[in-house]
């Protein structure tokens, strides 16, 4: 019925359909983003907690980096109809300004040179190619060898018109059709072990090469399954642990991020002995990130938030933050 409804609305020329907006170049955007409901008090709290993580890392000799994800929603508004404004663009700038003012190490992937600004038309996520480019930029920022994320070292497998993303499921497949979807597989040898915790708490253990460890092939080839983005990390999102048996070092990476990191950590994990990715959004990894760092003892920390994330961080974590604020001398 969603498909029929979206198809009908396409015929009669509607651009705002079931919560999605049709913008320029046939891209879909979330209508909710045009509502100014930014809670700067909450954003400040989240920024402070992020700073705490970065400060804790720095204080304990861990290479830390805050990464600003590229944004499908741009500052210039001509790509949206009816002169609509996106307010969260202001939020991204606010984050960057506040963090850089306090001396945090920042990588802004919105810059064109990183070529990470590639998005699906029907989804809010970046493409697999963009995530690889982002991984490369992060490794270079850390001063590490970046060939494991160099797209030239990957083979691309493209699937035509198979991905109906988070915005596309609002409008249905007849509105603008489905996205093409690509999988990148390293040309070099890989041997990995992965433990991926899905949204319902199930832990999936896989091992083998890159594709067999990371990609949920069943969902990838299922014509009825629309959300192809979830095939990355075999569907894992809450806590994901990757062991690279062919790593050339014994270093450990921790990525604290949202679902944008799912394809990105696949490439990054090939540069570290162990990589962990936790998503601290509400209902996902909701224990203390600081405690996690204390226990895991990573050599590198990447903190990467999107515009939604900053409004989802739970207060429980923040209560612990306040405790740490007074315990920073330990």
């Amino acid at each position: 019925m969603v498909n029929i409804n979206g198809g009908f609305k396409k015929i009669i020329g509607e651009k705002i359909v079931n919560g999605a907006i049709l913008g320029s170049e046939n891209n879909l955007y979330l209508e909710k983003k045009t509502i100014n409901d930014l809670d700067y008090e909450k954003i400040d709290k989240n920024i402070n907690y992020t700073k705490l993580i970065l400060e804790y890392g720095n204080k304990n000799g861990i290479n830390t980096l805050f990464v600003q994800e590229p944004d499908k929603y741009k500052e210039e508004e001509e790509y949206l109809p009816y002169n609509k404004k996106i307010y969260e663009v202001d939020s991204n700038e606010y984050w960057i300004n506040k963090l850089s003012r306090d001396g945090s190490n920042i990588l802004d992937l919105r810059e064109e040179k990183y070529n990470a600004d590639l998005f699906y038309k029907t989804d809010h996520h970046w493409t697999n190619e963009a995530s690889l480019n982002a991984g490369k930029a992060i490794l270079e920022e850390f001063g590490l060898e970046s060939k494991t994320c160099d797209i030239g070292n990957y083979e691309k497998q493209e699937f035509q018109k198979v991905f109906l993303g988070s915005l596309g499921i609002k409008t249905g497949k007849y509105y603008i059709g489905k996205d093409n979807f690509e999988i990148f597989e390293p040309k070099f040898e890989t041997d990995l072990e992965g433990s991926f915790q899905t949204l319902d708490g199930t832990i999936i253990n896989k091992n083998g090469d890159f594709k067999s460890t990371f990609i949920d092939e069943e969902k990838l080839h299922d014509d009825e399954y629309n959300n192809k983005y979830s095939v990355f990390l075999s569907g894992g999102i809450i806590e994901n642990i990757i062991i690279n048996n062919l790593a050339e070092n014994e270093e450990k990476l921790l990525v604290i991020s949202d679902s944008f990191a799912k394809p990105m950590v696949q490439g990054l994990s090939l540069s570290f002995r162990e990589t962990r990715f936790i998503d601290p959004q509400e209902g996902r990894y909701n224990k203390s990130c600081i405690e996690y760092i204390k226990e895991y003892k990573p050599d590198y920390i990447v903190v990467m938030y999107s515009r939604d994330y900053d409004e989802n961080m739970i207060d429980e974590d923040f209560i612990k933050y306040e405790n740490y604020l007074f315990g920073m001398s330990e």
Partner: protein, 475 residues
């Protein structure tokens, strides 16, 4: 429960049709009992406690019908019967409004320490419709236009029958009394009923609900409104209320046909009217004829011996029409607006007296504008808001002539707006008649394909969207 809901379309109606038609036709009493029980269940679905009022109405009107028939020469019985129904209406619909105004009067005259508390009484759905039906039954029994119904279940079925229960049409007992005990259900009639239901569903879900989005935004814009948005909102509401209400009437008529009942039409392209008087012969016909037969004619109608009495009769009818629509001053002013316009037409003889076509044409535009302005008063939350909105329409109190919000609402809905305007005039009837002359089977095919498409698209809207208001639910 709404007709335009998935639970009605896919659960209630199919189950009822199955049970109804499984019962052999010779067991008509059983079929009627099923209709009664399902109607009561339909009414109870939304608010179970309202069923008590419905049952009270049925029992009370049954008793009064018997008494009126038995004591025909005593006007007390008919008066008490009518009062019984009016009292139900007053208590459940108008009591808080009365209290509110009494308190205002006290405040104005300086009595500030006297304040009657508002009640927690909630308006039962459809109360204005079924009480008027009940009153028409009692009066028709009194006038000997119909035989009294001695079977309480049959009377209960008439008062509570779900197709017309919640939003009309206001069905006269004389129109269906024979059908209660002897009706003909045919495949053709059933098909016609289904088609009518589907077209009504489309009018409501596809056109009315989308126009509602524009109207709701326009009427809530306040100081942020623009002149263009005010006009767009007024036109949208004009279309919304027509397609909402006539759509529901179509569904009611279609449902009636599915069970062998034939209801009169309730709308006849009111927006092509050449005068206000004609508008009210085309709009909510069952209500207009009810007031004509049970208020206007008993007062003498237009066959009175003075213009003063004529004006008095018109005043009473239009005051009551306004009051019937709602417990709020803007409904009363809306009704009185029509009193002024219709009185003018009756006393002056215009527009019939116009000699020139251009004059008639201009009067037609005047009629349409009056209707649109009237709907603004009808829709607004009170007279202050209505006046403010009307000012916006002429550029007073608006921030600009247009803005991007107007552009958004216009462009997003331009196709449905156009469809609404075109379907407000008998364009389909015109083309249907043209095509029927040429090819019967072709027109039938177009009808069935259209039905299928309208049904699928309507259901897709119902499944997707939670926004499904129904205006006349407040009556």
């Amino acid at each position: 429960m709404l007709f335009s809901s998935t639970i009605f379309i896919f659960i209630f109606l199919p189950i009822l049709l199955l049970i109804y038609y499984i019962i052999p036709k010779r067991f008509l009493r059983l079929r009627n009992l099923i209709l009664l029980l399902f109607s009561l269940g339909f009414y109870a679905y939304g608010e179970p406690k309202f069923i008590i009022i419905m049952i009270l109405s049925i029992i009370g009107n049954y008793i009064f019908g018997i008494l009126i028939d038995k004591y025909r020469n005593k006007r007390l019985t008919i008066t008490t019967g009518i009062t019984f129904n009016i009292l139900i209406l007053v208590i459940f619909k108008y009591l808080n409004f009365i209290i509110y105004n009494i308190n205002n009067v006290f405040e104005v005259i300086g009595i500030t320490n006297f304040n009657i508390k508002q009640t927690a009484i909630v308006l039962p759905i459809g109360i204005s419709f079924f009480t008027f039906q009940a009153i028409s039954y009692l009066v028709d029994v009194y006038r000997r236009d119909v035989e009294v119904q001695k079977n309480p279940f049959y009377l209960g079925m008439y008062i509570s029958f779900f197709p017309q229960l919640i939003a009309g049409p206001i069905v006269r007992y004389s129109d269906i009394n024979l059908a209660i005990t002897n009706r003909i259900e045919t495949v053709d009639k059933f098909n016609v009923g289904i088609k009518r239901f589907i077209f009504g569903l489309g009018k409501k879900v596809i056109i009315a609900n989308n126009m509602a989005l524009i109207a709701d935004y326009a009427f809530s814009s306040g100081i942020n409104s623009t002149t263009a948005m005010a006009w767009l909102g007024a036109i949208a509401y004009t279309l919304q209320i027509f397609f909402d209400f006539s759509g529901y009437s179509d569904m009611a008529i279609g449902l009636g046909k599915m069970f062998g009942f034939d209801y009169h039409e309730n709308f006849n392209y009111p927006y092509i009217s050449k005068s206000i008087s004609e508008f009210w012969r085309r709009w909510h016909i069952s209500l207009g004829s009810w007031f004509r037969d049970y208020v206007y004619f008993p007062l003498g109608g237009s066959r009175v011996d003075s213009k003063v009495k004529l004006v008095r009769n018109l005043f009473i009818v239009w005051l009551l029409t306004g009051i019937w629509h709602g417990a709020s001053w803007n409904f009363i002013f809306w009704g009185l607006m029509y009193f002024i316009l219709i009185t003018f037409e009756k006393l002056s003889g215009y527009p019939d007296k116009f000699k020139y076509e251009i004059s008639k044409f201009l009067y037609r535009i005047f009629t349409m504008l009056s209707v649109i302005f009237g709907w603004v008063v009808f829709r607004a939350k009170g007279m202050t808001a209505a006046v403010s909105y009307l000012k916006n329409m002429v550029g007073i109190g608006t921030k600009s002539f247009w803005d991007y919000s107007f552009l958004e609402y216009f462009m997003e809905n331009r196709v449905i707006l156009l469809a609404g305007i075109l379907l407000s005039i008998p364009i389909i009837t015109y083309f249907k008649e043209k095509l029927r002359i040429k090819n019967f089977y072709f027109t039938k095919s177009i009808e069935y394909i259209s039905c299928g498409i309208i049904l699928i698209i309507s259901v897709s809207y119902l499944v997707i969207e939670s926004y499904n208001p129904f205006i006349y639910f407040n009556f």
